[in-house]
Symmetry: C2
Subunit: 191 residues, 2 copies
Amino acid sequence: MRVMGVDPGLTRCGLGVVDAASSRAVSLVAFGTATTPETESLDRRLLRVAEVVGEWIDRYAPDAVAVERVFARRDVGTVSGTMQASGVAMVEAARRGVDVALHTPTEVKAAVTGSGTAPKDQVGRMVARLLRLAETPRPPDAADALALAICHAWRPAALSPRGQAATPAQKAWVEASRAAAKRGRRGWAPV
Amino acid sequence: MRVMGVDPGLTRCGLGVVDAASSRAVSLVAFGTATTPETESLDRRLLRVAEVVGEWIDRYAPDAVAVERVFARRDVGTVSGTMQASGVAMVEAARRGVDVALHTPTEVKAAVTGSGTAPKDQVGRMVARLLRLAETPRPPDAADALALAICHAWRPAALSPRGQAATPAQKAWVEASRAAAKRGRRGWAPV
């Protein structure tokens, strides 16, 4: 299956596409970013994100689009643009009839490194290793988008019909996912 | 000038269109809501909001779209869907080359009632009076969207070339606008 990951952002929106085989092997299709200037108005910046995400979906025809679930914490000021960019990206996928999934940063880290608290550079290194790249994809937003795509391709439901976690990384994935769901019920703000 | 107001929301997104003459007279063109079922997935709900907002812009051809500026406070859980809906609405306007403006709830209340702290039902009653309607437009989301549209049509810059506040309501509008801008700098979260 082909998955496109979107690390939503207004200044830099990370995009990454991978192909995944049932054997857990993943291969790189494309990565990059949609960037918008801070001098531009909010509506034009969001439109630009929508256009680039739409072009990528049209060009790479993913089976699913995985978007990072944005949490609103204290730094709500910067989060609102990120939330809006995530909503805009979801609409572009829905408009084209492509499935949309949301994954938390913790789920993504657990999926690619085995630890939901792995530092950012470790995620980038694992993405490079898993995709057999000589270097970590840059910028980090693009690496994060690839990690999201891998996370979605490797989600337990996609690999096991009974939703069982087969590997340590998958077990960590499931635990992180459950923890995120619990936090959601306690009043966190999943997008 | 013709202005379309959007009171963003996922369950119920208020829409209202008014025509404004230079004499401060405003008249009703249309009001209504875009509703999406809570049982639907987030991406499909946002797509529905985008489609209805787009249809309204195409049908009524407003000169500007005024969207309520969403603030993230404690109830971030419900606010994230509202934020995403506002972003999606902005994109539909930008896609069609229509100007987008954001106004805070305080600005809107001040514009139509003269008080930035007016209760919701007072805003609805003033909207009905200003548009010479026998009844308050329902649901409240639609009345709020009409108030937004009136607020934008009456913004000081639209009426006075030098941006001066001519009436008590306009003075309240300018004060509320400045207060909102200050709060923004102190870390509030304007969308």
